[in-house]
Symmetry: C2
Amino acid sequence: MITLDDIRAASERVRPVVHRTPLLHAAALDERSGNSLYLKAENLQRVGAFKIRGAYNKIATLPPEVRAMGIVAHSSGNHAQGTALAARLLGAKATIVMPGNSPAVKVDATRGYGAEVVFCQDSSDDRARVANEIVQKTGATLVPPFDDDLIIAGQGTAMVEVAEDLRDLDAVVVPIGGGGLIGGTAVAAKHLCPGIKVVGVETEPANDAQRSFRTKQIVKIDPPKTIADGMRTQAVGKRNFEIMLRYVDDIVTVTDEEVMETMRFLLLRLKVLAEPTGAVAPAAVFHRKLGLEGKRICAFISGGNVEPSFISTLLNA
Amino acid sequence: MITLDDIRAASERVRPVVHRTPLLHAAALDERSGNSLYLKAENLQRVGAFKIRGAYNKIATLPPEVRAMGIVAHSSGNHAQGTALAARLLGAKATIVMPGNSPAVKVDATRGYGAEVVFCQDSSDDRARVANEIVQKTGATLVPPFDDDLIIAGQGTAMVEVAEDLRDLDAVVVPIGGGGLIGGTAVAAKHLCPGIKVVGVETEPANDAQRSFRTKQIVKIDPPKTIADGMRTQAVGKRNFEIMLRYVDDIVTVTDEEVMETMRFLLLRLKVLAEPTGAVAPAAVFHRKLGLEGKRICAFISGGNVEPSFISTLLNA
């Protein structure tokens, strides 16, 4: 299991390249939530999501001769862009395996960061198969999306910033996909913020982590139908789950409708664009899923990459 | 004319209540602009615009017995909300005169900050007439939108934050409506940032300040048709103009289309919502209206209050 030292080392590595994202605070947030609520705005991070932190930490620690053989990742989402940009910043060639039906804007963005995109079928199995073929053929290094100590430590660097910027936090609230962000955040939070509660959030259809947490064994679910595309992971990672069992206090869920309503509120009142997965943690606080009142809480907006057409849908809903 | 001391005093007053808004920075901004570009995100300010700064500075300096007789402002826009909230924070009753055809969301927001809304006809003359009637009848104090030393000094406090956060700026770029923001910004910038250029921006249809600046006398234009509603002021204020003649280096214009395109870029790439007037200064830098390259520039996003339906229009355009 990673330690605070691993996260501190990651912070040193990523600091020169990632944004120190702001903490958004507003009277409207406090009124709305019944708490003193701060939002860690990782939607304002490079590539529009926290994923650059883990990917950069991973690739930066590869020996130069390994890095020179290239980087591979498979992702239809933010991990693709995070890995592509991290590789470019470190002078490595990146190949990203994406399903053939990925939105054109995501493919273009990934190519925009200098990566080669290789298409596969739309299943986890086929993605992994194609990525492994590239690894075998070229000697490139696979950058996994979450089940990796360096990735987890990298994602934890956002919480180091939060702990520096905010004293006396009662709780930190984080969305859970595969468990990279909550893994790093939980380790950092429990070591840096005495007495803090760490709460994970999923959408109801994607509640595999909650079920795993309650039964104390990893539950794999069918691909869930949820607007929060970052939550479509079917199971959390092994390393991530170990951390959750040790350091996470609770996992709660929100509905897709609560996520949509929260996205509207964040856009029209706070003036920031969150993607559905990015609105999941604030939604849990807004909709009083934590059973906390009058507390000092930080919730993560994990990302802000949204299709333009989805924003229109959101506003017309 | 106000001095740096006036702005420093205003900073002391407003600091406990306004947000210290973040400076947004991104590789995409630098690539797009050909400069090292930072955006002062006053769209993330309380009430969604810088206007709270000036209004609070004005009302805070009224003697208690004067403040107790109430506050009046006339505005269909952000000055209404800024004045309403500033009054509430200082325990004063606010009456805001708004045109009867103001969007319901703006009326609701103003009432939401505890102000009474009184409707008038949709002309500057009628607004002023109704506001003056209230002043005569109740002894309330009028908080003018821009042509006032305390308002100008208050709006200048954002530039004090910029000067603290950013060294060696080559230029600061600010939208011009009545001249409150550029007035305060110009005085602060020229005293705090040696060698800095101060550039104002208007939309082409609303180029009264540019024409005034060039002819060295205040030009009043017909109500301009522009999407930037904060620029529909027909003439700059007298105090504001004096500052412009002394401290502003240039005034440039952008088209409504350039503003729309910039709003889309800010929303989809930077993940922040700017209102049309808020996007005017970044638009000037993106569209190379300043003739600067490779410089360190700060452009203001002055506000983020947009009708939801307008966002859809923007994304479908």
